[in-house]
Symmetry: none
Subunit: 209 residues, 4 copies
């Protein structure tokens, strides 16, 4: 019985903690997207979240901690939605297209997402933990992609290939295109180009056409 009281208390505590941390992380995402990685203040976050400034430090050790948490949350989100999209598909071809679309579409749906991600890239040389989180993200990207390629190869849908190399190449194509678009929205017709890229990828990989 004592334990259940304790449990309730703990749960309650965890609950509000989860709510606040999530609230603050989301606020951070919005604020960083709007003001940039280094031009925002703790007060901006608090204001955006509708909380007091002191609370930010109550739930996060410091600015770094908050930012690192945001990056991790973003990465976790990314993987979650990717896995969800892929799990609904059987065909390696469709999976690969879904993999591409996941990234291509995100840029348009969530304009800030890439701005914030790039902001984090600037830290890889100066913050080991952020470097590490980025390294992990890109590795899991390549592995996810390689897994699809391998499956397609084994099922005889895709040609024989060095899956690791091709995965890296596809990630380059996707990321490189997104970056060009993000830097210059008018550089090219995004919908058109991404469509063509996907066609090129498929025709490059598929057997006997």
């Amino acid at each position: 019985m004592v334990r259940s009281i304790e449990a309730k208390r703990e749960n309650k505590s965890n609950e509000i903690t989860q709510i606040r941390r999530s609230q603050l992380t989301k606020a951070t995402y919005r604020v960083v997207g709007r003001k940039g990685y280094y031009n925002f203040t703790i007060r901006d976050i608090a204001k955006e979240a509708g909380l007091s400034a002191g609370l930010v430090h109550y739930y996060f050790k410091d600015k770094q901690d908050l930012l690192l948490n945001l990056l991790r949350e973003m990465n976790a989100n990314l993987k979650y939605y990717l896995n969800k999209a892929l799990s609904e598909l059987d065909n390696p071809r469709d999976k690969l297209l879904a993999f591409c679309d996941q990234a291509f579409d995100l840029v348009q749906k969530e304009k800030d997402y890439f701005y914030v991600l790039i902001d984090f890239w600037t830290q890889i040389n100066h913050n080991p933990r952020i470097r590490n989180a980025n390294v992990k993200l890109f590795r899991s990207y390549r592995e996810e992609c390689a897994a699809i390629l391998r499956e397609g190869m084994e099922k005889g849908v895709f040609k024989h290939m060095d899956v690791d190399y091709v995965a890296t190449l596809l990630i380059s194509l996707i990321q490189g295109t997104i970056i060009q678009y993000v830097i210059d929205n008018e550089a090219f017709d995004y919908a058109e180009y991404t469509k063509r890229i996907k066609e090129n990828i498929i025709s490059m990989l598929e057997k006997g056409d």
Copy 2:
């Protein structure tokens, strides 16, 4: 001529001014590479340049101005060396390879270059002038690349293609690969992968193989 107009406009373009501005810009490059875009101070720059802190503001309006100048200088440098490399070559095939190598090699020769460039990307959403400089840089990249492709097409070396699209695609491949490498040096064998990418590009573009 352009220079004298510039001189009149700026009204400070005598010799010492050129020396100091260059001195400070180079110092900024080194310091930003070392400490990161936002973690350096005007004093760091002055110290690195062997000058006093006050002098920085004598030659540059403010921190932003100094940074913008650095970006422009970096872009100008990039173009200068690219043009120099290309001007020594006739063959579109060789030019295209030189174009790729220019970027691929830079990352290894000047490790900081890309870190600093990425740092500037974080400003595209927040600083119109820096966005503009980045937009221009990428446009000139694509145009340079497209020109080579067009020349190859006209000379009958390359297949028929939509040069703008292919230029964008090649830039994506190059930038995307570099980013993956910059974020994670151990992700793949850089020398090996960049070699393969160049081969793939050539075999994709060349006629009748």
Copy 3:
């Protein structure tokens, strides 16, 4: 009786109140000893006591109050043990030695005791209530000592003397030695020096040698 008056005045002197106040005071002693008078937080105390931060303010008005209470408790303790030790002895000579040992031994048994006491000294110029507590402590020291000396004098064991002056002098010797030792543990052989001091004191006071 005194206790019931106290209870009425404080209006919180039931059992649990006594337990909690004692719990918190002891925790404060340990924390102040460990972290220093000004570098601890209410949270430190609460944690050390295994209670919540809010509770500290339920049982003590504020930080000052808590600290003041600690000082009073420490002084009360000191007197309690001193009286206990003295009450077991008849001989003024032995009493005086016990008086010295009480102080000399405490430093070694309870290393933190003096650090905490000195911490309180820093407040005498800024906090009247703490000054007052310290004043009282030292007065009672001198009085205690003077009483022993007077008793020895009356019993013909000690020479004739100005007991107030000599009491002050003995306290100086004791406190001064302890301070030197507390500041620098390696300044001298503490056991040896304190032994010699006690001998000097006795031979200085005793009649006809």
Copy 4:
């Protein structure tokens, strides 16, 4: 010639640096004396010195640095005046009296001096550099005192004794008396008691009386 210009510049720089550091250290002494070791702010110092808050950090790394500097300055001062007083005297007896008076008089001339010193004692357990400075100060005290005693012994003025032990004992007497007085100004007649103490010391040490 270049060197002399450089020298001039350096000198000028050093000059103002010295002035400011001294200005700030003195202000710190006054403020700490008035408000207590932990109750003062950097702004208090700046205000007291008639300078801006930023300047404090221009000349001192941080609060710790400022405080440590103050302690060192106080110690240096103490030694300077003690040596000056002693150098004017020949007689070991007079020297010893001067040694005592140096400490006894200071308390009355510079009331804050001891308050500030005691404040620093609270740090010995928490700040190694401050501990070290205190350790050094007390050691030099004992050595200074021992040197006088040794000289007196060699000259046949003082009895044979263990100079290190007696030095420690005299320091204890002096410090202990001062502390009692500082804590409670009304505890005893300071002028009277210090006079008696000096007499006792001399009669204890001097030969054949």
